[in-house]
Symmetry: C2
Subunit: 123 residues, 2 copies
Amino acid sequence: MRPLYHPSLDDISVEGILHALSDPVRAHILAKILRADGAQTCSAFLGISDRPIPKSTLSQHFKALREAGLIRSERKGVELHNTSRCQEISARFGPLLNAVLQAHLAQDQRRGGAQKARRIKRT
Amino acid sequence: MRPLYHPSLDDISVEGILHALSDPVRAHILAKILRADGAQTCSAFLGISDRPIPKSTLSQHFKALREAGLIRSERKGVELHNTSRCQEISARFGPLLNAVLQAHLAQDQRRGGAQKARRIKRT
DNA sequence: TACGTAAGTTCACGTTTTGTGAACTATGGA
DNA sequence: TCCATAGTTCACAAAACGTGAACTTACGTA
């Protein structure tokens, strides 16, 4: 297993962030990590969407978020502990991240996803 | 030639906007259209990047922006007049668009692209 | 009317990216 | 030592992207 790559702050790009968050599943993942008190494991997200996400796909999503600089992942035993890098990001990119997350959230609520959003929040 | 498709406000999505603007060329195009007083034609952007962009590629970029709901294009004779839909978008999506454009701009300036940004501004 | 030209679009096709099942690699118990 | 669990890697099919070449449309100009 390769070591986990995390870009330095300087290597994080606006286009990378936007691309990573242009996928609603990834946006959900980040939002939930951000909301959580402690770290979140990958498998906590297997049922995040209405259709179940395969493990391999989920793994790629985490890799995408990590390599875009949005999360930090540490191996703890058999699992991965994911925390957000939102603070660093916001310090460098200003209101970008909040605006994006907030827009996704508002959209979820606008859509019938009122139920879905609540379910995710609870989980 | 097919008619130009413009999504209604309700059909515009956060993920669509982010995906469209995760390409720096498209972000530049939108920024310039927004800055311009009147409408902008497509061919005004042939030299927007350091390497010249082929016409066909440019055409696809405009289509992407249009179908994401970010610009409105009207045929005027032989050319296309493109204007931004940023006002509508901001009314619905709040600070999202400004944050994204601002982040791109700041990044351009941070990079050696200080020159490039100035050149584009002038054009 | 018939040409020529300029602005975009469409098509075809090679390249890249994405999603996913299957096989694999840790790690932590019993 | 064996098993289960978490996540990764691989291989490959499907989708998205970039671009040259051919095409369409509109506008002169003769």
